[in-house]
Symmetry: C2
Subunit: 352 residues, 2 copies
């Protein structure tokens, strides 16, 4: 295997970065891997004469345990290779659906698996909230379908449309990614999609994502749990759907816990009133994080009793996450500095 990178001397750092990335992700086992594939070339071609089938065989092999086994010098590497070569029946290719969490909007918070799933996808079925910076990471020839709610359509109709899309594309043999903002299994309808895929015997998998509570905690320096301040964190949707049970406000109002309220910008007065009525202290700190983890992040902090007033005063808009609890007193003190700083750390973004 040979990789040559040149910037014509203009940016050796850039060339080194690219090289480093390739090296780090794929490392020295690559040569061993290439050697085996070169040696077995004739057998592979004989087994999979069709180029498309052969490509899928390579992908399966490279995505599986084989590269890691080679890297570790595992004695099973050979058996894994043989089994991949023998077992796969090239006569049929079925599609599959992977539910993928896109995280909070910052493309850097995608997981490596999510990136891989995006790059392998033939079709990407995504929420309106998933931004272009993330969709840009898909393969250029992938079909991207925005399945945001349409005017006059109710949520159940939207969801039924999504299910049919997933099924149709999987049955057409495509690799489908269902891309959710945040995590697919937290306040998305990923659970319903999984149930639907199971019921229709469609192959599926789930790649988790950095949900807003984690992203906003990291971006504002609020520990979701901390010894002496909070032993648990509850993620709650401010608005339930129709027929949903009301939240257990009394439980949520107990001290020394953290509450992360999703989709709450329209419900701030209600959430505050319920928590205060159930006994949460008026001076409990909160941090309201607008566009958490994005370059235009804003953080409003204060005491619970003042939450609705402060949110109005600062005109906080969706998407915003609300953190309530003793730990929120730490909000807004994450000091991002330039790499090489001038004198004392220069704070580029001081939240709040």
């Amino acid at each position: 295997l040979q990789v040559a990178i040149s910037t014509g001397g203009a940016a050796p750092v850039l060339a080194r970065r690219l090289r480093q990335r390739l090296e780090t992700e794929l490392d020295e086992s690559l040569s061993a891997l290439t050697d085996v594939l070169a040696r077995e070339r004739a057998r592979i071609r004989w087994r999979f004469p069709h180029p498309g089938r052969r490509r899928r065989f390579f992908e399966r092999l490279l995505d599986g345990e084989w590269p890691q086994q080679l890297r570790r010098g595992d004695v099973n590497a050979n058996a894994t290779f043989e089994s991949a070569l023998q077992s796969s029946d090239p006569s049929r290719c079925l599609g599959e659906v992977t539910l993928v969490g896109a995280g909070s909007g910052d493309p850097g918070l995608l997981t490596l698996k999510a990136l891989r799933a995006l790059q392998d996808a033939d079709v990407i079925v995504h929420d309106r909230l998933v931004g272009p910076a993330i969709l840009e990471l898909a393969r250029r020839d992938a079909e991207c379908i925005d399945v945001g709610k349409r005017v006059g359509e109710d949520h159940d109709a939207t969801q039924a449309r999504i299910h049919e899309l997933l099924l149709a594309h999987a049955r057409a043999g495509h690799r489908v990614v269902r891309l959710h903002g945040g995590d697919p299994l937290v306040f998305g309808r990923g659970g319903e999609e999984l149930a639907f895929l199971r019921a229709h015997a469609v192959a599926h998998a789930v790649v988790p994502g950095i949900t807003a509570a984690l992203a906003c905690a990291a971006a504002t320096g609020v520990p979701l749990t901390q010894r002496g301040l909070s032993r648990s964190v509850t993620l709650l949707a401010a608005r339930g759907g129709e027929n949903s049970q009301p939240p257990h406000w009394h439980a949520l109002a107990a001290p020394n816990q953290t509450l992360a309220v999703y989709m709450g910008t329209g419900e701030l007065a209600n959430v505050t009133r319920e928590l205060l009525a159930a006994g949460r202290g008026a001076d409990t700190p909160f941090a309201l994080v607008e566009n958490g983890s994005l370059p235009n992040q804003r953080v409003v902090t204060g005491a619970l009793a003042d939450l609705p007033r402060l949110a109005r005063a600062h005109d906080v808009r969706a998407p915003a996450l609300l953190l309530i609890g003793e730990v929120a007193v730490h909000a807004g003190r994450v000091a991002r500095t330039e790499r090489c700083s001038n004198g004392p750390p220069r704070v580029l973004s001081e939240a709040a």
Copy 2:
């Protein structure tokens, strides 16, 4: 910019993957970027005659907004470049500490930012639980320091030792990564580390990680919330530290919510007894996930009243995450199939 990749014909798929990865992550703006750096070469050398300083300048520029501005054709790109060239005083370089979440153990669940932080780190201060597959992603010349608890050392002494390490390396001008299992701000002592770094005016940042609840939900197909079944999910540590408040069992026992219990393998009988005593139904489903998201994952499912017995019968050991709630009825039905499958989806790993 020129990148040439060859496998000597042995594995064109591999070559295409590498090319695709480079293209997708860095895209066509790379050429524009290289052109600017080539044009400005003399000025950059004049400003930063020292190669190390020059390297840091390039890194700062490439890590900042400039590449994205160039890509978008943003008119501010030029100003950003000039400001980077002018503003940074090359006379001093301070260190910095980034708290990074390593996720649940599967290296594929690292975020892109976490990978970048690992690759940029001079020093990596990591928990014992963070596996070699993740540490392998660090730069080869990075110093890795295992700060697991030592025999006879109490937790506070361990933490104090970690703080001193972080401070010493940051003050020596190093880029330090403090690598936590899961997410740094969920049941780690990341909050205390942040407070310490702030108090000592050390530049810092936080990169979130896929915490066990998200990883195990994805790996077992249990939605943490679902319309009609659960409107909230609470992450709870089974064991508090000394002086910690007991959990609000009554609150946690209410129906139609999900409970994710961390570090609970030694506390299963206790958790079960408390929840049942507080009124949670004996038939509430649970899923106990051992080594969640790892190749050796096991899932034990059943009704809450049978939890301690079933866990003993299956000899479940740490690390394990316990999911309790109506949603857990879905556990263990994630069907991972081979990419190109033979007849009906062939389930390779059926949990439980």
